[in-house]
Amino acid sequence: MLEMLQLPLVVTAQVDLLLVLVSLLAFWTRLSHLNYPNAVVFDEVYYGQFVSLYMKRVFFIDDSGPPLGHMILASGAYLGGFDGNFVWNRIGAEYPSTVNVWSLRLLPALCGALCVPLVYLLTLELKFSHLSALGAAVLLLLENSLIVQSRFMLLESVLIFFVLLAFFSYLRFHNSTPHRTLQGTCWLILSGVSCGAAVGVKYMGLFSYLLLLVVASLHTWKLIGDKTISHVISCHLYVHRVLCLVVVPVLLYVFWFYVHLSFLNRSGPHDQLMSSAFQASLQGGLSRITRGQPLEVAYGSQVTLRSSVSQPIPCWLHSHKVNYPIRYDNGRGSSHQQQVTCYPFKDVNNWWIIKDPGRQQLVVDTPPRPVRHGDVIQLVHGMTSRFLNSHDVAAPMSPHTQEVSGYIDFNVSMPAQNLWRVDISNREAESEVWKTILSEVRLIHVNTSAVLKLSGVSLPDWGFRQLEVVADKLFKAHSSSLEWTVEEHRYGTSQEQKEREAELHSPTHIDVDRKISFWAKFVELQWKMLTVKQEESEHKYSSSPLEWITMETNIAYWLHSSTNAQIHLIGNPVSWGVANLSLLAYQLLAVVYLLRRRRGLKDVPDGVWDQFVCLGCVCVGGWLVNFVPFLLMDKTLFLYHYLPALCYLYLLSPALLEHAHTHLLRYAHQPLRALCVGALAVLLSIFLTYRTFCPLTYGSPELSAHQLQGLKWRDTWDILYRRR
């Protein structure tokens, strides 16, 4: 102890000047003039709306990714004092002076800039030299598309940052033998945290995470085989890794949602997609309407019944004073009784009264008699007093099911069959008593044992294009289209029809607070995010994954409202070519090595071979997992989806060059010199190309139409010219 306190106190610091230099350059390329252009650029229009909703704490669903990405953007906006009052409706719209554009774009730009030193460090962890590391950093530094993507309020740079950080810290951990130092553990935890963050920013991060898990399990597998370690320690190491690399990311992922849900507590535009219970947990919206409703549904209750499915749209059981047409278009007959439909808007005709079949009155007793699972009820339509009825008549659009109608006695020997049995399907989770919002109820027709069901088909004109409601025999047992929840609810007090109508028109009242647990909300939100169908849209700049490799396409991000100044997502064609070339070269080399090693010819020593394999696992593997999934996707895809994959290739290129330099061409001096000269020439041309495309990357200076023409290196690129 005392030895450590001996004077003089000396701080020896090693500063890698190269690292500092590339970092500074990275900050300069990514952060300079960040608030130009002072207008909405490309997908800022998309992410911006969510940032605004965050500022207003309004709930939303975005199926494009988990909430962490949005939260990071929102925190940038929060730091800049953005109040959420900006309408994100059009690319190119000018920001007012109240919006601090710089802070909106700061965090993605920072992440983008930090990627450059990270790549430098990662190359070192892959056990390549500082020169290779510099090469990789320069490739990343001078990549126009990465610069563009980092400089705006977009998420790719954040994703790339976390993925690189995860790999870097994992390799740091792996290289820091012995494994059980505190420092090693810290790196491992950092790796787990970055994995959780990467998956939290975009779902694509999942694939990189899986790759990291594969690499880690390979390493662990070797560790298991290490017979010098005792069983106990081996077990310990194993558990340690599982905790850091599996449990931590999963917990973090859930945590992002926890923050998201606890932060967004106001109702908003996407409420309708969620269940009633979820909506009731949000301030305003449904909770305002339903605040103070009685909890237990009783005989005489006035209710609106919402279908549990939100496909095709959320809707409520509805009836109106129009009958089914006597004959349908295709010649089939109907009962000509009153239509019962499902209507996607709030309406006074959505109110139904629950009646005890044994009694006449439609008011709630004191004390109220709650309806329980298994009870038989009648449902009376509030405005027209028709009973909900079903019978053996084919439904209008789905003839294999029964028609549901409001019963009118035409005296045609068609008796009323209006008894329904209440079947509470989540009674184990909730209770036997029918509860507002919480209970999911099936209404089983007593005479035919068919179940009230939303068929999801719209009726033709005679049914005002509302949705068809039918009664279906209980075949498909677990379909949520059979389930209904009571949404609005009050105890009816008026005996007379006229009074009742007035009562139905008046809003509901009284208050009880209803809680839904975080886990239920999390599961529901996650499920909805994965299943919400986004309309497939064609986009002018969408492209197919195979076009990315050769950069056949570009994306116009922004065009000045009056001049030719514009910003495009265009990569640096030279580096792009280098990346593709190194990918090919690596694969070729790997195949040759593998075949020759199998025949017992070891071209490189085992240590170098391990290094080579590790490089391939991380870089080629990373490219594969970030590229191949897109080939199978049905989504609208853009060039920027390729950027994470591209980064792995930039990591690969200089390392591969170094490998060739030190091991392949060891004794051939002539080619060695050519290689060095070639590499320098390539670097120089990369720099020149970067300079050439700078005007399209930074949006200034403005170019003439002729100059723009000159930048159109590929016929398939779409560069905009403003007609004067």
Binding site: G456, V457, A477, R599, L632, D634
Partner: protein, 761 residues
């Protein structure tokens, strides 16, 4: 020790006629413990178990072979007998069209009638069905209109019998495959029993379907591959070649029936790569030998299947030479091959002229004809004007008349030709509406404009005008019928007539959307050709330039098949089967009959069998994990245990891979899926179960001492056999038909058997 013991230790594998002693592998170098010897000799010769470890030492080798081969032959006969009897029992019941028989029976008839049709599957399966029907005296006249139609006097048993026969081979193949992989009769018999008494396998084999044929080829391919693997020490011998070529033939067969055959090709491919990799590491082989091996495999597993596959298509096109219901799916050039098609030896005016009546076909493969009909777009979908769609079938509603901008009357004398750059008005012949577009969004492709039929008797507005553009042409070029690619540019908005390929919902009769695209890129979707051309004022000229060559036909038919396949999207609100439903036997398929009075057949796996399979998958993974961790940690294992873990890893790994390959890809498929897609995977899963359970029972001695462990093993096998037989007894009505009330109603014979709410029998 390892070297000295080489031959005796390998006796089990030496049974497979091994010539040389292979290079011992690491895991084999542990010592041979006499304890396991004792155990083996105790179990040897008992019952069906036929333990292959029973023989020790070179002297026992020959004896052992005798003792295994004889019971296994008896068992094989037993398996074959049971298999055929369960599949062929009540084969003619029900005497009406069941489920997809309506398609495949019909397509079999088409082959007998030589009528051209279109299907999303390659032709071999239907060709075989047609052949079987032909041989058994079916004349191809039964229309197979819809499920439930009575066969009356038709000879349908031949086709069903053929499928059932192929289906009967499945348990036999499974038996042989597992026997090869595990060297254990018990494992083989378990696998075969699972398949013989699975109601699902029986049901799917008994009808005129492609699945039994497909599964026959898949299993045959796997069997020949496994047999071939065992021939590895007799390279280039006759039997080596035989199994190799058989593998190739069966691969072609599997792919020729359904594209699902691709999965087994991948399986064989991976196995071959692995095999070649092993050969490459064998330093006793020269590079020339390895090249020979490689070329032999390339020939038998790539070249041969490709040739066979192409031959199948060649036969298909030669046999089907008459025009039929499939014509419209194919390009004009393709149709000119078909006798009876109006393009066959067509003669029509060569250049398009004003006043001609034409059909206009989209150039996208399977793009359809420009079509309109007396129905309006529904409210909320653009303007409420008449629908314009693309329709794949030939129909009089596909006819359009080409008019000048203004006049409607045909002039006297020779009509003027339509040239590049001319403005035309296209009038729908049946409804006299003009082809029209305007700035409303199209029904599905929201960024395009809607195309409608507008006006009456030729009077419309300025939005009815289209400019004709011949692709690659210059101003003044005439439009050649059939050969010119034409684009129609809308005058008012500048957009181009486009077929998006998306299927309209019910209101559009599920025809294909036609839009006007503002993106002017030249793609086949925006190019059209004039197919039929009627103009009495012009001389007809014989057009025979169009005959496409075989490769073009082959390519086109494949593109059409893939389009068709991806077009089979699940419809909204239809309960469709999800891949995760399948292994848990969540929901079956109704083959025949809905009501209580009808004869009902329900395709559902025997739940006991399926759940055993499911459990075994988990069990297998656990056992492999335990075994490999034990090996990796370097625990010393007994000889028997090492052999078990090798069987688990190698044989089981192959089957597991087969299961994965036949199951996992369905999760990524967007097309509509059905329960029966799981059956090939189920075969692999059952074989894996046989192998896993056998080894589980044999590993009883880990926990119990010798006599008890042996009893445990036998008790387990008996219990398994009994539960499969009893569940088959319970569930056999699913396959052989039930009548009477439905299961969820009182009084049904199946009442207690509705174990899951989702079953619908």
């Amino acid at each position: 020790m390892a070297k000295a013991e080489c031959t005796p230790k390998w006796n089990t594998l030496a049974l497979r006629n091994r010539k040389t002693c292979p290079t011992p592998e690491k895991s084999f170098q542990t010592t041979f413990t006499p304890v396991s010897k004792d155990k083996n000799s105790q179990t040897a010769g008992h019952l069906a178990g036929g333990d292959t470890q029973s023989s020790n030492g070179p002297s026992g080798q020959f004896l052992a072979r005798e003792s295994i081969e004889s019971p296994s032959k008896v068992l094989l006969m037993l398996v074959a007998g049971l298999s055929f009897s369960t599949r062929l029992y009540m084969i003619t019941e029900p005497p009406h069209v069941c489920w997809d028989e309506t398609h495949f029976g019909k397509m079999g008839s088409y082959y007998i009638n030589r009528t051209f049709f279109f299907d999303v599957h390659p032709p071999l399966g239907k060709m075989l069905i047609g052949l079987a029907g032909y041989m058994s005296g079916y004349d191809g006249t039964f229309p197979f209109i819809k499920p439930g139609d009575k066969y009356e006097n038709q000879n349908y048993w031949g086709m069903r019998g053929f499928c059932a026969t192929l289906g009967s081979f499945l348990p036999i193949f499974a038996y042989l495959i597992v026997l090869e992989l595990s060297n254990s009769c018990t494992a083989a018999i378990i696998a075969a029993t699972l398949l013989i008494f699975d109601t699902g396998c029986i049901t799917i084999s008994q009808y005129i379907l492609l699945d039994p044929i497909l599964m026959f080829f898949i299993m045959a391919a796997v069997l020949s591959m496994v047999k071939f693997n065992q021939q590895r020490y007799r390279s280039f011998s006759a039997s080596w070649w035989l199994w190799l070529v058989l593998t190739g033939i069966n691969l072609a067969g599997a792919l020729g029936v359904k594209f699902v055959g691709l999965f087994v090709i991948i399986l064989v491919g991976l196995n071959t790569i692995w095999d070649l990799w092993r050969l490459l590491g064998d330093m006793s082989l020269s590079l020339v030998d390895i090249a020979k091996h490689f070329l032999a495999r390339a020939f038998a597993l790539i070249l041969l299947p490709v040739i066979l596959y192409v031959t199948i298509f060649a036969v298909h096109f030669v046999v089907l030479n008459k025009s039929g219901p499939g014509d419209g799916f194919f390009s004009s050039a393709f149709q000119s091959r078909l006798i009876g098609n109006n393009l066959h030896n067509a003669s029509m005016p060569e250049y398009l002229a004003f006043g001609s009546t034409v059909t206009i076909k989209n150039l996208r493969i399977a793009g359809g004809y420009l079509h309109s009909h007396w129905h309006l777009y529904p409210e909320g979908v653009g303007a409420r004007q008449q629908q314009v769609t693309a329709y794949l079938h030939k129909d009089y509603n596909n006819l359009w008349v080409v008019h000048r901008q203004q006049d409607n009357n045909s002039q006297s004398g020779n009509p003027d030709l339509v040239r590049h750059g001319d403005i035309v008005r296209l009038e729908h012949k049946e409804t006299t509406r003009n082809l029209h577009s305007h700035l409303h969004e199209a029904p599905l492709t929201k960024k395009h404009f809607q195309v409608t039929g507008y006006g009456i008797n030729g009077t419309g507005d300025a939005n009815d005008l289209w400019q004709v553009e011949v692709c690659g042409g210059r101003k003044g070029d005439p439009v050649k019928v059939l050969r010119s690619k034409v684009r129609f540019l809308h005058r008012a908005t500048g957009c181009v007539l486009y077929s998006s390929g998306k299927t309209l919902p019910k209101w559009g009769w599920e025809q294909i959307e036609v839009t006007c695209s503002p993106y002017l890129k030249e793609t086949p979707s925006s190019q059209w050709n004039i197919e039929d051309h009627i103009n009495p004022k012009l001389p007809n000229i014989s057009l025979s330039v169009l005959k496409p060559n075989f490769l073009e036909i082959l390519l086109e038919s494949h593109i059409v098949m893939f389009r068709g396949n991806s077009g089979l999207k699940p419809k909204d609100n239809e309960m469709n089967s999800k891949p995760w439903h399948w292994p848990i036997n969540y929901q079956g398929l109704r083959f025949s009959g809905v009501n209580a009075t009808e004869y009902r057949v329900y395709l559902l796996g025997n739940p006991v069998v399926w759940w055993i399979n499911l459990a075994s998958l988990g069990l297998y993974l656990t056992m492999v994990a335990v075994a490999s961790i034990a090996t990796q940690r370097g625990f010393s294992l007994g000889q028997q245990r090492i052999e078990h873990s090798l069987v688990l890893v190698r044989g089981g790994g192959l089957l597991m891979l087969g299961w994965l390959l036949h199951y996992a890809p369905f999760f990524t498929m967007g097309r509509i899926l059905y329960f029966h897609h799981y059956f090939p995977a189920m075969l692999f899963s059952s074989m894996l179960t046989g192998l896993t359970l056998d080894i589980l029972f044999r590993s009883a001695d880990l926990l119990l001492h010798p006599p008890y462990s042996y009893w445990f093993q036998r008790a387990g096998q008996l219990l398994l056999l009994f539960s499969i037989l009893y569940s088959f007894y319970l569930f056999h009505p699913l396959s052989y038909g039930m009548t009477g009330p439905l299961a969820h109603e009182p009084g049904s014979a199946m009442a207690d058997l509705k174990w899951m709410d989702s079953w619908e029998f």
